[in-house]
Each structure stands twice: as C-alpha cells, then as structure tokens.
C-alpha cells in the first residue's frame, strides 16, 4: 500500500473563523488505497467523490467547473511538505471555488500564481490558455443568454408570481421554438422547391407523371378558387374555414400535386421529401421533448426512489432566493405553509386509510366504481356527440360558417365542461389530495386528446366509409372527398383557428370584465365568485391540445406550424397581460420541479397519440388520386418501398433484412435483456444503499460506546475518506470517518 498524502485547505475553515490552520487532508489516490492519519478538522468531502466509480463522478470528472488533476503522490508529514502539497492541490481549483473569505481566496490565488512560476513554459502556456478559454466560453455563454427569447419577461414573471407560473411560460416559449423549427423544416423541404419550380427560378421545371391504371373519375378535382367577383365577406369566410381561395394555396396538401422537380440537372423527388419531412418533424419533436424531460425524469426517479426527501426539500430548498417583490414573498410564505400543512394532512389521511375497516373499504370501492362508470358515461356522451356533429357538418358543409365550426365548438365545450365535472366528482372518491390532483389531471388530459381522436375517426368513417359501392374505383369516397387530405387539413386548420379565437375571447370577455366587476362591485355574490386564479394545469392542457392538433395537421397542411408559431407568440403576450392585470396566483401552487416533467410527459403523450392517426392515414387509407404528391401511389407510404426498389441490390437486401422478422425478433430480445440487466443493477444498488445506511448507524453507535478503543486505522480495510470538522468531538482524531465514506459511497451509488 502506498501511502498517499497531501493537504487540502479546508473549505470549512471559515466555519471556525479566520486564522485557522488549514488541515491535512487524506487524498484518495487513483488506486484508492491507504489510510492516512488526519487531524481533527476536515474538509468537506467533495473532491474525492471524483474517484468513486459511479456515473456521477465520471460526469463530474469530464465536465463541471472544477479542474481535476490526478492525485499527487508523496508524503506529507512535515509542515513544509504539507504547504507544498497544499499549493499543489490548491492549484487545481480556481480560487473563487474555495469557500473561504475574500482575503484567503486572494492568498490562494497568489499561491497559484507563485506556483506557476516554477513550471515549464509549456505547462504555463497550457494553464493560461485553458484559463482564458474557460473565461471566453463563460463570456459567450453569458452573451448567448441574451439571445434567448423573452428572457426578461419570464424573469419578471418568475419574480412576481413564482416558479410554477414561470414554468408555464417557459413551456410556451419551448413550443414557439419547436413549431418554428418544424415550420422551417417543412418549408425548406416541401414548400420551397414547389414554389421555386412553379416560378421557374434556377432553371427549374416540374414533372407531372400522369397516373396509370386509375379510373379517370378519381382524378376530378375542381376546387373553387373564388373566380370572378365575390363579396368581401367570402374572403373572411374562406380565411376562417380554409375553403375557397385558401384551398388552392400552399397551405394545404392539394397544392403539392407535383411528382418531381428538376433544378438544373438535379431531380428532387417531392413525394419522398414530403414523407421524409413528416417523419423528420415527428422524430425531431419526440427527441427534443425527451431530452428536455430527461432532466425532470431523473429528479422524479430520485424523488420517488427516496420518497422520504419531500420534507427536507421543502424546508431547505423551499425558499426562492430570487424573490424581491413583497407580495410574491407573501405568496411564497403562504404556499410553503400550505404545502407543509397538506403534507402533514396527507400523513394523517394515510394513517386513517390504513386503519379503515372492511365495511368502509367496501363502501368506498363501490362508490369509486360507480363514479368511474359515470365518468365513462360522460366521456362516451362527449364522443358520440362529437361524432354526430362531425358527420352532420361534413354533410352540410356549404351551408354556413357556423355549421363548419360546429365540431370545433362541441370539442371546446367538452374540453371546458369535462374538467369541471371531474373536479366535482372526485371529491366523493375520497382519495388523498395529491392523488386527487393527479387523477383529475389525467382525466382532463384524456378528454382533450381523445376528442381529437374521435373527430379524426369520424372524418375517416366518412372518407373511407364505403357503404354502397361509393368508393369502389378509388378506395375512398371520391364524390364527397376528391382530395380528402385537404379536407382533413381544413378541419385541423379550423380547430386551430377556433382554439385561438376562444383563448383570445376568454381573455377579453371573461377575465377583464370579471376583474372589473370584482374590483368595483361589492355584491356578496360577486365577491364570492372572486378573482380568477391562474390554473397552471388548465392552461398547459390547452396549449398541449393546440400542439397535438398542429402535429397531426402538419402532414395535411404543411404551413400549419407557422400559424401555430404565430398563435403561441400572441398567446404569450395575451396570457402575460391577463396574468399581470387580473389574476391572483393560485392558492395551490404546483412545485416547479415536478410540474415541468408533468407538462413534458403530457406533451409526449400528445405526440404519441398524434402518431396513430398519421400512421393510419399514411399507411392504410389510399391517398387521393386527384391531388397531392402521392397521386401515383396506392397509399402515401408506398413512396418508400418504391424508392428502396431503386437502390442497388446490396443496399436493398440490407434494408429488407432490417425490416424482416429475422432481425426484429433478436433485436427485441436483446433490448429486453439489456432492460432487465439495468433493472437488476438498479435493484442491487438500492440494496447496497440500504445496507450502507444501516452500517452507518451501526458504526456511529459503535464509536460512541467505545471511546477508549485502540486505534485500528492501519489495519482498516484500505479505503480512504475525510472526516468533518463538525464531527470533531465525536470522532477520535486519527480514525477515518467511515460513516462519512459510507455516506458518500451510497450517495454515488444512488
């Protein structure tokens, strides 16, 4: 065993006040061996975590703000050695990261500078260049934070209303950016080539391949492009419903009836590009959301794995140090008080539930089943009415605007009434408050997303509903829907516009008058109504609903993301103004750390739900033969097998091999094995953590009961760890603090 030694200036030296001598600190060598005698006071045991074999320490070694060097070898018995070794260790960290007073930091800095004097020129240059690189990077990072959209607005909201509401606005900002990127994607790969070729820029020409083996009757498509003199209000009507002049623009699928674009000598396969751009934006969205939610997931996992952290988290990390506004501070005090009281109540409730007798349990379970049946009945009622209304609206679509907007109105009504009913019913189900909130939210999410699904389902039943030979020639109902993708696109467009109108209308006609009424009118009834609270979850579900529509609709209407971007952009300012002027913050604030993750999970659910209708349209329903880039294929998906068949044979075989069962089944099996391995690893870690926890208590109580025990430090197992100044009076000076090591070992394990 080689004895390693060095001294580390104690970060907690300041705890004892100035003038304390920095103590010797045992170092963990890379071999992780040997114990060193140490003096009473210790340093915060942070640095040696680098040496522990865990992903946390690997990450810290790679990144982080602390520069790390391999442990210095050498003994440090004498003061002189200690000083030299101390400066060696000090040189590792920038002076500002030492938790000491300013004067001591300057002394450290001088040490570091003196230290560099005797280094070779190459090392000196390396050190200065790495320092200046770090400085430059941090400057760039600081500057780039200015480029973040709405930085100042969100900060001021955070300061005034807390982090819960701020998370809603950051979520909104994320959606604006996401939609903008999706728009750029679709525009540059689909719309731009079309426009370029239509106007003949860059010597581009369009290639139309006439459809073969298809009944002529399927290719008849005459969108009324508002020719001749029309009333002005028709333009407005068209703008709101996507028909008329809008139908023939690049907004909808029908415009892209092009098979290939020739730019100079290169050919651009538009159908393939259209399909691939669709897959690309779906993949991009899912990857981005997963990346954002991983952070919150890790915290949630730790939180759930160790459910005993909640009180500590609230007490020690509860106060938001950014608050400067007195009313925000009052709100925070109240919210912390409320949270702690709720937690205590939940404890009491859990105890009460555990003590329930059989009879009580039976009664409550039957009540819950009954209420769930009611909920299902309500949902079925909603779905059925949406179905009927959609069918009715599709059959009488040319009557007037109201009929066209009927599905949107019914959906909005259902989205509004549903949550109210659920919030009312859940009170009878006798759950703990936290679970109540979760269940109500889940039900609301389900209602909103399922409504879109039902709308699409009813549309498809119309399009592909072949009652009596209606779709024999073409595979779909060509009489009513010669270009069915444009129709679906129009429905999505109408949903989006209506959603936007409703949000604006609610802000204008419900929030502001309510505030005026409550402020100036002192009737009991009005005061009981009170100020509107900013319900974060409701607002978030609203924008997730809009985003799901956008994802589904972009395939049928490539410019829809641009409309979504503008819509969310305007909504940001509207909500901000409404918040500042009318709302009083919710009495039940959700903790930001968990709510961010919740929003992203629901968004991900929305995205996954969007995959289903899109997958169905692309792969199962025959594409319309009268319009669109997929006229010459049976379904939109067929572009890809067709393209693959044009590849060289070797590549073809590889691709077909990947898609075959011979590859998929072993791949799936391997994935399962990896998953089981990881789960087993996590369980093993957990068991180690438990054991270490018990050992910790055991060792400490052992120590306390045996003050006069001889020192066994050299015979101890070869593990090294520092102890703490705070433990001075409980630890013998020369004994390593095993509990501390255990503490940090299981910290790194978990």
């Amino acid at each position: 065993l080689s004895e390693t030694g060095s001294a580390l200036a104690s970060p907690l030296a300041a705890l004892r006040g100035p003038g304390a001598r920095p103590r010797q600190q045992p170092r963990l060598s890379l071999a992780g061996l040997s114990v060193l005698a140490e003096e009473p006071h210790g340093a915060a045991p942070v640095h040696f975590l680098q040496e522990l074999p865990s992903c946390q320490s690997a990450r810290r070694r790679r990144g982080g703000t602390q520069e790390r060097r391999p442990a210095l070898l050498g003994t440090a018995r004498s003061r002189g050695d200690a000083a030299r070794a101390e400066t060696g260790e000090l040189a590792d960290r920038p002076a500002r990261e030492h938790p000491k007073s300013m004067a001591e930091k300057r002394r450290i800095r001088d040490f570091q500078q003196a230290d560099t004097e005797h280094l070779s020129r190459w090392k000196k240059w390396r050190r200065t260049s790495s320092k200046s690189l770090k400085k430059a990077l941090s400057e760039v990072k600081g500057l780039s934070s200015y480029l973040v959209l709405w930085r100042h607005d969100i900060h001021s909201i955070e300061g005034k209303f807390g982090t819960g509401i701020q998370s809603y606005f950051s979520f909104l900002r994320f959606l604006v950016l996401l939609n903008f990127i999706i728009f750029i994607l679709m525009f540059s790969f689909v719309t731009l080539p079309t426009i370029i070729s239509q106007y003949g820029i860059f010597n581009s020409t369009i290639a139309y391949i006439s459809p073969k083996n298809i009944d002529d009757i399927c290719t008849i498509y005459k969108p009324s492009g508002n020719k001749g003199l029309v009333y002005f209000y028709t333009y407005l009507k068209d703008l709101l419903s996507g028909t008329g002049f809008l139908e023939v623009t690049s907004l909808f699928y029908g415009y892209y009836s092009i098979d290939a674009v020739w730019i100079s000598v290169m050919s651009y396969n538009l159908p393939l590009a259209y399909l691939l751009a669709t897959f690309a934006y779906l993949t991009l969205s899912s990857l981005w959301i997963i990346k954002r939610s991983v952070e919150g997931f890790k915290q949630n996992l730790v939180h759930d794995a160790d459910p005993f952290q909640s009180y500590c988290n609230k007490v020690f990390a509860g106060w938001d140090f950014c608050i400067t506004d007195p009313s925000a501070a009052r709100l925070k005090h109240r919210s912390l008080q409320y949270e702690l009281q709720t937690d205590l109540q939940e404890e009491k409730l859990k105890q009460k539930i555990a003590e329930r007798k059989m009879g009580e349990k039976l009664r409550i379970y039957t009540l819950r089943i009954f209420i769930n049946i009611i909920v299902i009945a309500i949902l079925s009622g909603c779905f059925y009415s949406i179905y009927r209304v959609t069918v009715f609206s599709q059959e009488n679509s040319s009557v007037n605007l109201l009929v066209q907007y009927l599905p949107s109105m019914v959906i909005t009504l259902a989205n509004f009434i549903g949550p109210l009913i659920f919030a009312f019913l859940i009170r009878f189900e006798d759950y703990t408050p936290a679970f109540e909130i979760k269940l109500t939210l889940l039900r609301c999410v389900f209602v909103r997303l399922a409504n879109i699904g039902v709308l699409l389902f009813s549309l498809w039943s119309q399009i592909a509903g072949c009652g009596s030979d209606k779709c024999k020639p073409c595979g779909y109902n060509y009489k009513l829907y010669p270009c069915w993708e444009s129709d679906v696109g129009q429905e999505m467009y109408k949903l989006m516009i209506f959603d936007f109108i409703v949000i604006l209308a609610v802000a204008l006609f419900a929030d502001f008058p309510r505030k005026l009424l409550v402020t100036h009118c002192s009737w009991k009834l009005v005061q009981w109504f009170g100020h509107k609270e900013f319900e974060i979850s409701d607002n978030v579900l609203e924008i997730i609903y809009g985003q799901t529509i956008c994802w589904i609709g972009t395939f049928f209407s490539p410019l829809l993301p641009a409309i979504a971007t503008i819509k969310y952009f305007i909504i940001f300012y509207v909500k901000k103004i409404v918040l500042i002027h009318t709302r009083k913050p919710a009495a039940r604030p959700i903790r930001a750390s968990s709510s961010n993750f919740f929003f992203l999970v629901v968004l991900l659910i929305g995205l996954l739900l969007a995959f289903i209708p899109l997958g169905f349209s692309i792969a199962r329903i025959p594409s319309s033969k009268a319009c669109g880039p997929f006229r010459n294929y049976n379904t939109s998906w067929e572009v890809i097998p067709d393209t693959i068949l044009q590849f060289p044979t070797g590549l073809q075989q590889i691709l077909f091999g990947i898609a075959s069962e011979a590859f998929a089944v072993p791949f799936f099996v391997i994935l399962c094995i990896i998953m089981f391995y990881v789960i087993a690893l996590a369980r093993a870690h957990k068991r180690v953590v438990e054991q270490l926890r018990e050992q910790l208590v055991l060792v400490r109580s052992e120590r306390e009961s045996c003050v006069s025990c001889p020192l066994h430090h050299l015979a101890q197992p070869p593990l090294l760890f520092p102890s703490l100044p705070s433990q001075t009076h409980t630890w013998l000076p020369t004994l390593p603090s095993r509990p501390l090591f255990l503490l940090h070992l299981f910290w790194s394990c978990s």
Partner: protein, 192 residues
C-alpha cells in the same frame, strides 16, 4: 442606477457581472467593469463611509442593518443569517470583500458544493456546526412566518431529521445536509 439593478438578484443578470476571475487578475489599482456595479451598490448604501477609490484597500465595513435592507435581500427570511455567514467577524458587518463574496456564492455560476457549504452555515442558527432541532424550528418559523402550530412544527422537524439524519445522532451534520441537498431537486433552482 438602482432601477437597472433592480433585477440584480435575477438569475442570469448577475452571472457575468460577478467575474471573480477579474478580481484576482487585477492589481487592485483599477476595479474592473464587472466589479464596478457591485462597488456602486456597496457605495450607494453608505456614500459617506465607503470610498470610491479602493486602491489603498481601506478597512470599511457596513453594518448588517444596511445590507439587509437591500432590495435583493429584503424579502428573504434568512437575510440576517446570510449576512452573518459571510461576515468575517461573525457579527454581520460586511467589508467590500465579504460583499463580493456573498454575491459570488449566490450567483448561478457558483458550484453546487460551494452553495451547499454556505447553505449549511445559513441554516445553522447557533453556529455549532450542526443543524439541530432548535435550528430547524427557527428555520420553519422564518419560512412560514410563524403560521404553523407548535404541533405541526414539531412534526415537520421530526420528519426532516428522520429523512436526512444518516448517522442517527438526532441532528444534521454537514455530511447529512450535503447528502440530502444533493438530492433536493429545487436546491439549485431556488438557491440561485
């Protein structure tokens, strides 16, 4: 100037203004731009006492009363403890060095370990290097402005110690605290 710096405590604004790098690389004859703002704030709290010129390294300390009236600290229930933890004499008077120190630790550039060390000092009201039940009770009272009943406070303190105390001594040492705070998802978010 106050209105510009009204958001001083706001997360990112402070980050590139506190560049202690420059504090150390300067020869102290000229304060760098990044510290001018801090020095300006320090000076305006007591213009008659704080000199504009720090070349002679004057020994000027501002009392706690002035510091805790700063807009960034005014609403913080732990303001006295924060100032006390950073003052060299332990009584709460901050020299300019301590002042810069305080803002640098509370900025978002400071590493988590550093913040954890100072957070421990702040919550340790009786400075015995342990967070005992009495400290926890004081913390809770400050957090909730004494709105909780005595029974609730006792319950919460018991729960906190139960959750965080690893070595079973009934109070939180720094190791327990650091272990617990490393798992607290809101720590870095809220504690600047």
């Amino acid at each position: 100037m106050p209105s510009e710096q009204a958001g001083f405590f706001v997360k990112r604004k402070i980050s590139h203004k506190i560049q202690l790098y420059n504090v150390y690389s300067s020869t102290y004859s000229l304060l760098r731009d990044q510290n001018t703002l801090l020095h300006g704030r320090y000076h305006e709290m007591a213009p008659n006492v704080v000199p504009m010129d720090y070349t002679k390294d004057p020994d000027v300390k501002l009392p706690m009363q002035l510091i805790i009236n700063m807009p960034e600290l005014k609403e913080n229930p732990f303001k006295e403890r924060i100032v006390e933890s950073f003052s060299e004499d332990g009584e709460g008077s901050l020299s300019f060095n301590d002042f810069v120190d305080m803002f640098s630790v509370l900025s978002e550039m400071a590493p988590r370990e550093l913040k954890a060390i100072y957070a421990f000092k702040i919550y340790d009201f009786n400075t015995d290097n342990f967070i005992c039940k009495a400290d926890l009770e004081k913390t809770l009272n400050k957090l909730t402005r004494e709105e909780l009943t005595a029974e609730e406070i006792t319950l919460v303190c018991e729960k906190v110690i139960e959750e965080a105390d690893m070595d079973g001594d009934g109070k939180l040492g720094f190791a327990d605290f650091e272990n617990m705070i490393s798992k607290a998802p809101d720590f870095l978010r809220y504690y600047f």
